[in-house]
């Protein structure tokens, strides 16, 4: 069947199965060129098997929880949203969460996702104690920081190309409420935004929405949002009796693929200006609920339909700290001059990262969505070149289009990863459309 990622592009033919037992998983692996798929939220072609795709959402059991250490043992198909549903009422929250909760734990490990606290606590890797991984022969290996450490290292951020993740142990964080004390800092331009990030390294959470349509002196104007878990006393009075319970948000489903003209430079510019103006009015501190703070887009199911039938692509790179300021200026100038403003653009300061193949590095990451039309596609090589010039690299979980030579030049670790896969007999058993495209 034809399968795509969250960006609805590319669509690739693969044989999709939903195994329910480990024996069924082993049988699929034996056929070769397989990859596991979670909830399909990676944007490009990473969760499309080169020949076979294993929908792992049937493996969705939580197996144990230790309230003394906060360690949760669960199968790989358990969703982060389920973890929150079950454990926030008991005072626990994911240690690291990306901007959607609609992902599986297996997917979070494979992409080594990052969140608004990366500058302090690192990527998802920081909360993973061990992983049970099924190898090419169907044997299950437990790996951790101490046991099979090399396999553990490559698996986190390894995009499912080291084996099929079956189970994992992750640590949750203890929180005193389900609310966040948010501080909104409007930044008039890119330099102000960077200063705001550098001044906020002690904040637990920090992220900025950045206006890609603004030009000139306002280039890169941003809303920098800091967050701290709120104390029970800070919870709004009407929710204070049940501090872990957020107001239920009405879920809306984006009804259909939007027509191609819905997102045009004018509507995107207007949206960005409105968003900045509205955010600026909320300068200072506010208490907001966890769902709205961490997962604003989860309230609109199937929001990827906004980009229409042709789908969209995401550009996400990270630039190292010493060249980030200059690189970001060049990226933002290129985007605003092209007139191809991104509807949703996010800037984030990363902290140090120590792992063999994960995306983050200390510096700044910029994430942009573009509809898939000719002018936006033409802009991509320019952004790629700026990223390369500044020593940056690309995020596989978002990628559907980076050329293989660009990727390997930007990320020399890719060659080492590919070699390690060959030496360990993994290259034939595990392959995705992405790994074949990028020669991983």
């Amino acid at each position: 069947m034809q399968l795509s990622g969250w960006g609805n592009f590319p669509k690739r033919t693969t044989q999709l199965t939903a195994p329910r037992t480990e024996a069924e998983v082993a049988a699929q692996i034996a056929e070769g060129r397989a990859v596991a798929r979670g909830n399909g939220r990676s944007y490009g072609d990473s969760a499309i098997g080169a020949a076979r795709t294993l929908d792992m959402r049937g493996f969705d059991r939580m197996l144990s929880f230790n309230a003394a250490t906060g360690q949760l043992v669960a199968e790989a198909g358990v969703m982060l949203s389920d973890v929150i549903d079950s454990f926030l009422p008991r005072g626990w929250f994911p240690m690291v969460t990306p901007g959607t909760k609609l992902i599986t734990l297996g997917g979070a490990i494979a992409a080594d996702v990052h969140g608004k606290n990366h500058h302090v606590e690192g990527s998802f890797r920081a909360c993973v104690d061990w992983i049970d991984l099924m190898g090419p022969d169907g044997a299950v290996t437990r790996c951790s920081h101490d046991e099979n450490a090399e396999l553990f290292g490559w698996t986190i951020g390894g995009m499912g190309l080291t084996g099929i993740i079956l189970r994992c142990a992750i640590r949750l964080r203890s929180v005193k409420s389900g609310w966040i004390r948010q501080t909104m800092i409007p930044a008039a331009n890119l330099d102000e935004a960077i200063t705001a990030f550098e001044d906020s390294m002690a904040a637990t959470y920090s992220v900025a929405w950045i206006d890609c349509a603004a030009k000139g002196a306002a280039l890169g104007r941003s809303l920098v949002m800091l967050g701290e878990h709120a104390e029970p006393g800070e919870v709004p009075p009407r929710y204070r009796a049940t501090p872990f319970k957020a107001p239920r948000r009405r879920k809306k489903t984006f009804p259909m693929n939007a027509p191609g003209f819905a997102l045009n430079p004018l509507s995107v510019r207007a949206f960005n200006a409105l968003y900045f103006w509205n955010g600026s009015r909320q300068e200072g501190q506010q208490i907001v609920d966890w769902d709205g703070y961490f997962y604003p887009l989860d309230a609109i199911l199937k929001w990827n339909r906004l980009y229409g039938r042709k789908g969209f692509m995401q550009f996400q790179c990270v630039l190292p700290q010493d060249s980030a300021r200059e690189g970001l200026h060049r990226l933002m100038s290129a985007i605003s001059e092209s007139g191809q403003a991104s509807f949703l653009s996010v800037l984030k300061r990363f902290g140090p990262q120590d792992s063999p193949f994960s995306f983050p590095m200390e510096g700044y990451t910029l994430a942009l969505d573009f509809p898939r039309h000719a002018r936006a596609i033409a802009l991509m090589p320019e952004l790629d070149a700026i990223t390369l010039d500044h020593g940056g690299r690309f995020y596989l979980a978002k990628d559907s289009r980076v050329p293989a030579d660009t990727f390997t030049t930007a990320d020399p670790r890719a060659a080492a990863f590919a070699q390690w896969r060959r030496e360990n007999g993994l290259a034939d058993a595990f392959a995705s459309a992405q790994s074949e495209r990028l020669h991983l």
Partner: protein, 244 residues
């Protein structure tokens, strides 16, 4: 107070979703299936997610002689029993191989019906209880493409209807669930229309609501009521020439 909920045929996707939905409400859960010990991870899951007590029980729906002993072996008589037992098989094989047809007829009709008959007596003696039978829209009218399975479900639907009628004055309620297409392991190989296909969680939610509101017969997606009304209204001389 929260009485246990007994889930029969606990391995299926619909059963697992239903077990979670009732555990989320704080009910202790009794999971019954063949090779019950292999349901250890499901027991752990319900306990970890919802902090409820979960017990595992060996149960073979086809062993009708053993049904009374099975119920006696439960740690407590459940307040609600949900039967998700049944196999669909392949219609072509069911047509040709009597053994397969018998397995489909027995697992969808005989086993569940006899067990509910035994449970009904216990519920009447106690003076309360709810029986939820997962039947199928396939039982509303026999069609060439799956009438072996469909006729077994028709039998089960009729049985549930009669049981409901008999127990209506005795404070024992019977719910008939007709899920329509459901996205499960049983249907994974079929190409199902999205608008007519429910997720297992939807079925579970519909069952919880039906138990609470004492509904009699529910279609999980309301559109199925319309679809089946139309299918049932077609005169037989026309119907026999169609292929739906």
């Amino acid at each position: 107070m929260n009485l246990p909920v007994l889930i029969l045929g606990a391995r299926s996707d619909m059963a697992r979703a239903t077990a979670r939905a009732f555990a989320a409400l704080g009910h202790p859960i009794q999971l019954a299936a063949r090779d019950a010990d292999s349901l250890g991870p499901d027991k752990a899951d319900l306990e970890t997610r919802y902090s409820v007590e979960v017990t595992l029980h060996e149960f073979n729906a086809l062993d009708v002689a053993g049904h009374a002993a099975f119920i006696d072996g439960l740690p407590a008589l459940p307040g609600i029993a949900i039967c998700a037992v049944g196999t669909m098989g392949e219609q072509e094989e069911n047509e040709k191989d009597p053994a397969r047809a018998v397995a489909v007829l027995r697992s969808n009709f005989e086993g569940p019906a006899i067990l509910f008959g035994v449970l009904a007596e216990r519920f009447v003696n106690r003076g309360s209880g709810t029986l939820v039978g997962i039947s199928s829209v396939a039982g509303d009218r026999g069609r060439a493409s799956n009438y072996v399975y469909g006729s077994a479900k028709a039998g089960f639907t009729a049985f549930l209807s009669g049981l409901r009628n008999r127990l209506a004055q005795k404070n024992v309620h019977v719910v008939t669930v007709k899920p329509g297409f459901v996205n499960t392991a049983m249907t994974a190989h079929l190409d199902l229309p999205a608008k007519l296909t429910a997720e297992p969680d939807e079925v579970a939610g519909a069952i919880v609501k039906a138990v609470k509101k004492q509904r009699n017969i529910i279609y999980v997606r309301p559109i199925w009521w319309l679809v089946m009304s139309i299918i049932c209204a077609v005169p037989e001389m026309v119907f026999k020439k169609t292929s739906i």
